[in-house]
């Protein structure tokens, strides 16, 4: 963020990606990376935030060996982007707007390993650009949290600002949990921060556990306090890490070594114009242009690569008059590996699979009559009102023709014949 060390630290030999700036050697001065600032603005814009016209870095002072300076360069009173929102889906299937307080720029910290009574430090990660996104306390169930995290990850990947791989620590979640009696509208006077949980699944398990733990504690009449807790996967429970220092104990003050940032309207518009089509916009367009169902759209837009693959296949399919819906179904049902398949191959496969299929009404009527006469009992069941019997007849017909017959036409022909009888 503030030096020229490579940020590609993952899996590298410890302390091989550091310099006087990230090690806080005397006299070293920070120097802002422009691309990191632009990426932070992109993230803010994608989350409907306003870009501040004036932004400052500040020192967040604390003593912990993960940062050699004794403070982290972060943002506090003048974050780069503020006041955004994102829509998530909750347990009840309803959409809820989650307010984003800010998306600000800071530097990552070193990695600590605890061994016996010592702590080992690898500073490769310290000084790597890190964007912190803070929401308002708007989540009311874990489904919303899962959806939020997945949507953020998707946005980061669409923006190409991060791989957002949780297992590698590219993206980390810190959940603040508190509970209140039903009917209370004010926020509880404490919150428990769940931290250093490096997997999505574990974070959700920790949140579920924590909600239950807090309800049980409050019902027993215990008082809950502001604290940080971690997750013990073996015991499947959260544990106390430290009692949280109040925010003003960080003694934030403007970083005197870094001049302020002034982001011009021009620059914001420039970045806006370079933003790719984001998942939400793509979803609306796919519905309008191709008439797809939401569940199909969600699969296709999961990654920008897959959605682009689909659109290329639709393009190729157009000259063969193939319905975009058929292409969507084909890609989704066959779980097409887009790394090993070309969009043109998909169209060839669809054309091929359609090739041997009998659609001639005369032929199909003959087949339907055969099936009915060979399965009198099932036909009788259908006439008595057993709807599922029709499926059995269709199945029998498909079997006779080894699947090379149009299901839709066979179905309607069978229905017609049975109703006539």
């Amino acid at each position: 963020m503030f030096c020229s060390c490579s940020a590609d630290y993952f899996g590298k030999e410890p302390n091989t990606h550091t310099c006087p700036v990230c090690l806080a050697l005397p006299g070293a001065l920070p120097y802002i990376n422009e691309e990191a600032i632009n990426d932070c603005i992109k993230i803010g814009l994608a989350l409907n935030c306003t870009v501040a016209d004036k932004s400052l870095f500040e020192r967040k002072n604390y003593f912990y060996p993960d940062l050699p300076k004794g403070y982290q360069i972060s943002q506090y009173r003048w974050p780069l982007t503020v006041n955004g929102w994102i829509e998530v889906v909750g347990q009840d299937g309803k959409t809820k707007k989650i307010r984003i307080n800010r998306a600000h720029q800071e530097e990552d910290t070193g990695k600590l390993t605890h061994k016996d009574s010592n702590t080992l430090i690898d500073f490769n990660r310290s000084g790597v650009p890190l964007v912190e996104i803070v929401t308002e306390p708007d989540f009311s169930d874990t489904t919303q949290i899962v959806d939020y995290a997945k949507k953020l990850q998707q946005i980061f990947r669409y923006l190409e600002v991060s791989n957002a791989d949780m297992e590698r620590g590219d993206m980390r979640l810190e959940a603040n949990i508190s509970v209140r009696p039903v009917g209370q509208t004010t926020l509880p006077n404490y919150r428990v921060e769940l931290k250093n949980i490096n997997s999505f699944r574990f974070m959700m398990a920790a949140v579920e556990y924590e909600i239950k733990r807090q309800i049980a504690a409050l019902e027993k009449g215990e008082r809950l306090q502001q604290e940080t807790r971690g997750w013990n996967e073996d015991k499947k429970e959260t544990f106390l890490q430290r009692v949280k220092e109040e925010a003003n104990d960080y003694r934030y003050f403007p970083e005197p070594d870094l001049p302020k940032l002034k982001i011009s309207e021009n620059q914001i518009n420039q970045i806006k114009s370079e933003l790719p089509e984001l998942p939400v916009q793509k979803s609306v367009r796919f519905q309008k242009e191709f008439g797809l169902r939401l569940d199909q759209i969600l699969v296709l837009i999961e990654s920008s690569e897959l959605s682009e693959f689909y659109e290329r296949a639709v393009e190729v399919g157009r000259s063969h008059h193939i319905d975009p819906k058929i292409i969507a179904n084909f890609i989704i049902n066959r779980k097409i590996n887009i790394e090993e398949t070309a969009p043109t191959e998909i169209i060839e496969q669809i054309l091929e699979s359609k090739a041997g299929i009998v659609e001639d009404p005369g032929q199909i009527e003959g087949l339907a009559a055969e099936v009915i006469s060979e399965n009198p009992q099932i036909a009788a069941d259908f006439k008595k009102g057993k709807e599922t019997a029709l499926q059995a007849l269709i199945g029998a017909g498909m079997k006779k023709r080894k699947g090379k017959v149009s299901v839709e036409i066979l179905k309607s022909t069978l229905e017609n014949l049975l109703q006539k009888e």
């Binding site: 020229s4 006087p20 120097y31 990376n33």
Partner: protein, 97 residues
């Protein structure tokens, strides 16, 4: 403005400084004097003056996203009082991962 002994203790804790009881007394007095001295600045009228956080007067000083060679692990650890497996060793801090 004068600092209480408790405030000194608190500040010392945040700064990770172990102080004896006598030192706490001593620093409470000294720090209070420093605060009083600095408080003289309050007599200046700053009503229409923007706070100054940086005296260079510059803005948007940024560098391109280009990497440069880092220090070698050997150089990095040459000042460490203790190292193990290429890492700095420090007194254990309680925060299991």
């Amino acid at each position: 403005m004068s600092l209480t002994k408790d405030q000194v203790k608190h500040v010392a804790k945040l700064a990770n400084l172990p102080l004896t009881s006598e030192e706490e007394e001593k620093y409470a007095e000294q720090l209070s004097k420093i605060l009083e001295y600095v408080e003289q600045l309050n007599s200046v009228d700053t009503k229409d003056i923007e706070p100054t956080f940086n005296v260079s007067g510059q803005e948007n000083v940024m560098r391109k996203d280009e990497t440069e060679a880092s220090l070698s692990q050997e150089e990095v650890l040459s000042n460490a009082s203790k190292a193990e497996n290429g890492m700095f060793v420090t007194k254990g801090v309680f925060e299991p991962e």
